[in-house]
Symmetry: C2
Subunit: 208 residues, 2 copies
């Protein structure tokens, strides 16, 4: 194991969920042990990179054997902090917001959408997955009361910054935004983007 307090690069952190996903699949299939070579082949990654990624956090493998699937899953879940409950709020109960709300089931990982907000009076009060859509005015109070730490933004790009400001003000520590817009937040708040228009446009470059 490496010396402590080495900063972990974003690239490493982004690969951990990918490892986790495939390991979970292996566990389901009854596979008990996996080598970095097996993982690399399946995930299109260099085996040395996988070993290095994991070694940042501990000595999880056994020389000559590989990694115990169940143990590694447990460890990665700890590293990603997915071993504890994390309350999530979703802002923007339009089509995309509704679709994501229904994914609650899939993201078992103790991350759970516990509140929905929307600014349209006609949407407020409707129920999605047993959760009532609340007006924006209640966001600050609800976020605090429910200890929401992560916000998902599914409003139009033009409203994203305002919503992000409100979420941060209410105490949210991390944001996943689906809006096609760069969001500015204060130091310490983390923003990830899941902007498929950008993804689709860069895909077009590779045509032909």
């Amino acid at each position: 194991m490496k010396t402590t307090t080495e900063k972990i690069s974003e690239a490493v952190v982004r690969r951990l969920p990918v490892y986790l996903r495939y390991l979970t699949e292996l566990l389901t299939n009854g596979v008990q042990t996996v080598s970095s070579q097996d993982l690399g082949r399946r995930l299109d990654l260099n085996p040395a990179q996988i070993r290095k990624d994991l070694a940042y956090f501990g000595d999880f493998g056994k020389k000559g054997i590989g990694y115990d699937v169940e143990y590694l899953i447990e460890k990665i879940r700890q590293i990603l902090k997915l071993d504890r409950d994390i309350a999530v709020a979703l802002v923007g109960a339009g089509n995309l917001g509704k679709a994501l709300s229904n994914y609650n089931v899939y993201l078992n990982d103790n991350m759970r959408i516990v509140a929905l907000f929307d600014s349209h009076p006609s949407t407020v009060g409707t129920h999605i997955n047993n959760l009532a859509v609340q007006p924006m005015e209640e966001m600050s109070d609800s976020v605090k009361q429910l200890h929401v730490r992560v916000g998902i933004i599914t409003v139009p790009g033009s409203e994203a910054q305002k919503v992000a400001d409100d979420l941060v003000q209410a105490g949210v520590e991390a944001i996943l935004s689906f809006a096609p817009a760069i969001i500015k937040v204060k130091e310490g708040v983390r923003v990830h983007y899941a902007d498929f228009t950008t993804e689709l446009q860069s895909l077009a470059f590779y045509l032909e």
Copy 2:
């Protein structure tokens, strides 16, 4: 302008749509000229990086002045091949698929969803945005007939590989997958991922 036939890195290609988005906003606001410094400040990027990115494709700026917003938009659209019509097919007309279909309006860029497919008999035949959901069996023929070049996958992870195989078989050149799974395709076909579960999980790492 640099020597021709220099390979463009993926990182560069991914930033182009971000430039395009902000430039379009500037154009809407009547801004005629913008410097790499302005862009960098707004997009949290190094100005030198922006100049370098653009210089891969041509001399678009004017020394002492900056970049003409309208002209640069035109050029980036050409580079990304967004200046011609691109037919897109979406496979998986569930909640997420439906939500994305409705975004057609937003992705004006001549990329247009022209066909929807689903494997559930109860979904086939329903209409989303004036487009009928077709059964999977018709995919190959429809993709060829409509000259579909890009496929969007919004089926469960367990079915993603099969759908990708079918799309590639039918002649699709690029795929955007929302399914939480690594997809293997033959050389020459490009796959991008828009997997928000991965994004959300890596976000959890940064809590606290």
